[in-house]
């Protein structure tokens, strides 16, 4: 008996394993950093190095709740991309490729990046 293939391509119903979750979040965070992160970072850098009280005015912009929220989101994107990236580099050199270790390192990536994001949030508010 042959099973109908592809087995499942309904994204909502696929139960993604943890390493898969880390992987797709790596992609999503990377795209967010490209689309939103880089231009905002450049704008911020330009402002911060401007003459006069540019640095202070940037601080006022950063004090707005909505801006803080965007900054926090981007901080998570960077931190997740960073941590997941290190995990992928370790996988590249065949560190932690066993299923159990791969699952464990996925949890570590998710938890560490979220914890560091909380830390950034605490500093922001």
């Amino acid at each position: 008996m042959t099973r109908p293939r592809p087995v499942y391509l309904n994204l909502v119903r696929i139960r993604l394993p943890l390493p898969g979750l880390v992987s797709i979040l790596h992609r999503i965070s990377g795209a967010a950093l490209f689309l939103i992160g880089i231009p905002l970072l450049l704008l911020g850098l330009e402002r911060s190095l401007g003459t006069g009280d540019a640095f202070a005015s940037l601080r006022t912009v950063l004090a707005q709740p909505l801006v803080k929220l965007v900054a926090l989101g981007l901080a998570w994107a960077y931190l997740h991309h960073f941590c997941a990236g290190i995990r992928f580099l370790l996988l590249d050199v065949h560190r932690g490729i066993e299923l159990l270790q791969a699952r464990r390192s996925s949890v570590i990536v998710l938890v560490v990046s979220l914890a560091l994001t909380v830390l950034v949030g605490v500093r922001l508010w």
Binding site: R27, G30, I38, L42, L45, E46, L49, F82
Partner: protein, 115 residues
């Protein structure tokens, strides 16, 4: 194998480049962390002193160039995976390159703007 204009490069080069640029950016990121820890935070004076330093500006530009390369490979992979139309994919890839090179020039302009 059918080779198309906007296909992959069918090689190891991009895979290696993605990892080398990643490590370079991680080192630059940790440099910021070390600076922040040593000085117990980063205030305006330190911020401006850092960017007044030529070596730091060069390091920042290198980070920017690594980011450009890294983001290009990543975004190209995303377009390749999800955009089936060759014409649209090619357009998005060209747009990505134009935007990224623009960002790199902008970064250099910011870093070496007369102050």
């Amino acid at each position: 194998m059918k080779r198309v204009l906007v296909g992959a490069h069918y090689g190891l080069k991009d895979w290696v480049a993605q990892r080398i640029t990643a490590v370079l950016m991680a080192v630059y990121t940790l440099l910021w962390v070390v600076i922040a820890v040593i000085h117990g935070g980063i205030d305006q004076a330190l911020w401006q002193a850092l960017f007044a330093n030529a070596a730091f500006r060069v390091a920042t530009l290198l980070f920017g160039l690594a980011l450009l390369w890294h983001a290009w490979i990543g975004m190209r992979d995303i377009w390749m995976d999800y955009i089936a139309s060759t014409a649209l994919r090619f357009s998005l890839e060209v747009l990505t390159v134009v935007v990224l090179v623009g960002y790199a020039v902008w970064l250099a302009a910011i870093l070496w703007a007369p102050r």
